[in-house]
């Protein structure tokens, strides 16, 4: 939700803080400001509004938040007084998804291109200007958070709200065709679809020649709107609001504001009754609230007077004084306030999270250990394998093909090439090995400890497993004999090859407790092949090979040196094997020749 700083000041004339302070304070109280920029001499703040705060998808809602934070009075926009006639409106509601609708007929419209202030306002909210009437409906939606719609009476003589049974397609205002599904909430004239609940169509669109129109403002079943919007893959400013819980009691104020604006800017005359169909009147909520509870939750002193001031400012009313608590009724706008914890949060967020000290972690008293022993076994095995020189890898648990009929398939993975949960870690390790081979990584030895998945007797099961690879199968076997409690329990790989083996860990004996210590080591993101080159070095006298390795390793840039070793010694001749990475073949060869004086 974007808000213009100067526009919010119209709602809060006494607001003194600059835009940056407003940004920081909005973020503190729960409306993260992810964007802050100056456009056309206006400061625009982009707010991330949480899904339970539909009221804040409007200037009205945000202004109410700031009014509470700064303890200011809210200035409601000027609304003209007007009279409705007795004339009826051709509207029929045939859907249970309509929660409240207000509508009226306006005539004598003098529609025109929008004035510059309105064009600028909408542009700053990324909305294109159409004409004054349409733009004012969008303006009111942004101000109050409730979408509204105008229908050209010449194009549609009656309006019916119904759930789709008969229509297959809908053409939106921009001309795109949308395939309709059963139950979609539609507005029709019994012949054609005039609008969806959240997007209008050419069939009823307002243009500069429109003189008579039906205006409506409605709130629907949010689940229906969400379902329609998602299934039809159409998201609009209206659907973003209507798919959340909006306040039906705000409609009269917002609708009156719209009519006021149309009378002022389009010369509209109200030519019918005010239709107000309100089948879903929300029941009043009451919450028992102890004014001292915010302090107990925050862990600091928060005066009870402050708690009561905040709730009062938010529009909560005290219904009854109980013994040690109060019975509070939240304002209808605040659909998120249902429990005492909701009110506690209100008080603490306005008091300021920043006032809560951050230097006291939770008591370090040790409670009974409830760690599952399998976790100790896993950590222990990892350390044992590290000591034997194995690298740990983590791979995708989803693979391309099943091993057998017991495999578990995903229903809807967007990565459809990998639809199967692995039944063996070796499936994943093979992919790892392919990668290492591609990069020509010398002498790979690695392991993974992770879950494998399968079906058994209609149940979906998972097990902890260990899989190991060593380029030398004999070494793999001798290494496994050193790893307790794997020793003697290692089957050969499941028909892959003898360089792999896999062990189910759930079946192994578990250590009582094993807490590894943290150690840090570097990981390298492989982006190029590892190039291995040999060099013979003839010396006048013998040297300790390890000293030689250390000496020559310092001569090569560590950013390209992967490994260096002496693989043979004959008399005073030392054969080096050096692996390079992060460079191409030519560079590696050039550096190699120069390092060992082979040019």
């Amino acid at each position: 939700m974007k808000i213009i700083y100067s526009e919010i000041k119209k709602w809060l004339p006494d607001l003194k803080d600059d835009a940056k302070s407003v940004r920081d304070n909005l973020t503190q109280i729960g409306h993260f400001v992810s964007g802050f920029e100056e456009i056309d001499s206006e400061i625009v703040l982009d707010l991330e509004i949480r899904s339970n705060r539909a009221d804040c998808l409007s200037y009205y809602g945000i202004a109410r938040e700031l009014a509470t934070f700064y303890n200011l009075d809210l200035q409601i926009p000027e609304i003209k007084s007007f009279q409705f006639s007795e004339s009826s409106i051709p509207i029929t509601i045939n859907s249970p998804d309509v929660y409240r609708i207000q509508a009226t007929k306006i005539s004598n419209l003098k529609n025109s291109p929008s004035p510059s202030w309105l064009i600028k306002f909408l542009k700053l909210h990324d909305i294109n200007s159409i004409n004054t009437l349409v733009d004012l409906t969008n303006y009111v939606m942004l101000q109050w958070g409730i979408p509204c719609h105008a229908f050209d009476l010449k194009k549609s003589s009656e309006l019916i709200w119904e759930n789709n049974q008969n229509y297959s397609e809908f053409t939106s205002l921009d001309g795109s065709k949308i395939k309709l599904s059963p139950k979609n909430l539609l507005i029709t004239d019994s012949q054609k679809v005039l609008s969806l609940s959240f997007i209008g169509s050419e069939n009823s669109s307002i243009d500069l020649n429109t003189t008579d129109s039906i205006l409506e403002m409605a709130i629907y079943n949010p689940s229906r709107v969400r379902s329609d919007s998602r299934s039809l893959k159409t998201i609009t400013e209206a659907s973003i609001r209507l798919d959340k819980e909006l306040d039906t009691q705000t409609i009269p104020l917002a609708f009156s504001h719209l009519l006021s604006l149309l009378i002022t800017h389009c010369g509209a005359i109200i030519s019918s009754q005010l239709l107000d169909i309100y089948p879903k009147v929300p029941s009043k909520i009451t919450i028992e609230f102890d004014p001292s509870s915010p302090a107990s939750y925050a862990g600091i002193n928060i005066p009870t007077d402050f708690s009561l001031d905040v709730l009062k400012h938010l529009g909560c009313s005290i219904i009854k004084n109980l013994k040690s608590s109060l019975l509070i009724s939240p304002p209808s706008l605040r659909k998120d306030l249902n429990l005492s914890e909701d009110l506690i949060e209100e008080v603490i967020r306005f008091y300021g999270y920043y006032k809560i000290p951050i230097d006291t972690p939770v008591d370090s008293q040790t409670l009974p250990d409830i760690t599952p022993p399998i976790l100790y076994l896993i950590e222990n095995l990892k350390d044992q394998l590290l000591a034997l020189g194995y690298d740990e890898i983590r791979s995708w648990p989803l693979v391309k093909t099943p091993l057998d009929k017991n495999a578990i398939f995903t229903q809807n993975s967007i990565n459809s090439d990998y639809p199967v949960l692995r039944q063996s870690l070796i499936q994943s390790l093979k992919t790892q090995l392919d990668q290492y081979r591609r990069f020509k990584l010398p002498a790979p030895q690695f392991f993974e400890i992770g879950k494998i998945y399968f079906q058994k007797n209609g149940q979906y099961l998972e097990q902890n497993a260990l899989a190991i690879y060593h380029y030398d199968s004999q070494k793999l076997e001798s290494d496994l004999n050193l790893v307790a409690p794997v020793k003697g329990r290692y089957p050969k790989g499941r028909g892959v090859d003898s360089n792999f083996t896999e062990i189910i860990l759930d079946d192994l004996p578990k250590p009582k407790k094993y807490l590894p210590t943290f150690s840090d080591s570097k990981a390298i993101e492989l982006t190029s092949q590892i190039i291995t080159l040999d060099a013979n070095l003839n010396l006048d006298s013998p040297r300790d090979p390890l000293d030689l390795i250390k000496e020559y390793s310092t001569k090569i840039n560590p950013k390209i040196l992967w490994s260096i070793e002496i693989i043979d010694v004959y008399k005073n001749r030392y054969t080096f094997r050096v692996s390079y990475y992060n460079c191409d073949d030519k560079t590696a060869k050039k550096i190699h020749l120069s390092t060992f004086n082979l040019l």
Binding site: S51, R53, E341, Y353, I358, Y453, S519, P545
Partner: protein, 331 residues
Amino acid sequence: MNLNQILIESKNKINSANTSAELENIRIELLGRSGLINQLFSEIRKAENPHKYGQQLNKLKKEVEILIANKSTNLPKIDNCKLKIVNSFSLPKVGHLHPITQTERQLNEVFKKLGFSFYDGPEIESDEYCFQRLNVPPSHPAREMQDTIYIKEPELLLRTQGSSIEARLLSQEKPPFKVAFPSRVYRNEKVNKSNHFIFHHYQGVVVDKNITLKDLFGTINLLFKTLYGPNVIIRFRNKYYPEVEPGVGPDMQCFNCQGQGCAICKGAGWIEMGGAGIIHPKVLKMAGIDPHLWRGFAFGLGLDRWVMAKYNIKDIRTLLGGNLAYKPNHL
């Protein structure tokens, strides 16, 4: 374990070394970070008399160090005569943990000191534990096919958040408890350089009497300071999550611009680090825990971006894609 026996075996091993490379291998096996003697030190608390056992271990360590030093000077030098070597000369191969495991262990270290246990739960999870018991309403967008990978819609899915472990923990254990748990989670997202459909969470849950936001803030502050050093600047702001009330968003001042605003923090000066809050009373109630008696906090952090920043990994796919490798000899 008999320390005299270990000393005798160590002496035999050291004496059997023919080259300095072999001796170095033995040194690492006995005295290295993950070596035998360090492992014995880590189990010192299990001894009947830890103080005395510690003294004996120190004595053993010194003796082994002297044996290795003496052997090193006595090793025959390579002379001019023909020498055929069986083993190549290189620093011994040391295994490496995956960066995600390393980071998990670093976090575990913090919580171990705070007396936490550790926990796990299934990755194939039910709608009940992944959503319902965490107070996620039926209409929440996370439940839709676009966001969740289903095994059998709508009951079975691949867990979308580590909080499902929290739901299991709350229903399986009796308070009070303090528990931390790393987890692998799944979302139905296309894989690219910065997004993956498999990623990692690290979460913690404490349920006790009189738990407060102050406890939560102090715990998260300690965690961040351990990971990023004492000068890291943190703020806490209000944030909505269905499973907590009040909800909290911990942010860290951008390490790149020190709060001035840059491309990394998208101009905000702060980086969002996860979510937290006081466990919602409905969540406790659904687990059979009386919210009038017990209160708890929970927090969750996304691990992958931490790991990427820490290890300078630029492509998230690398973490699980086979492109990570480790230099063999700590060069």
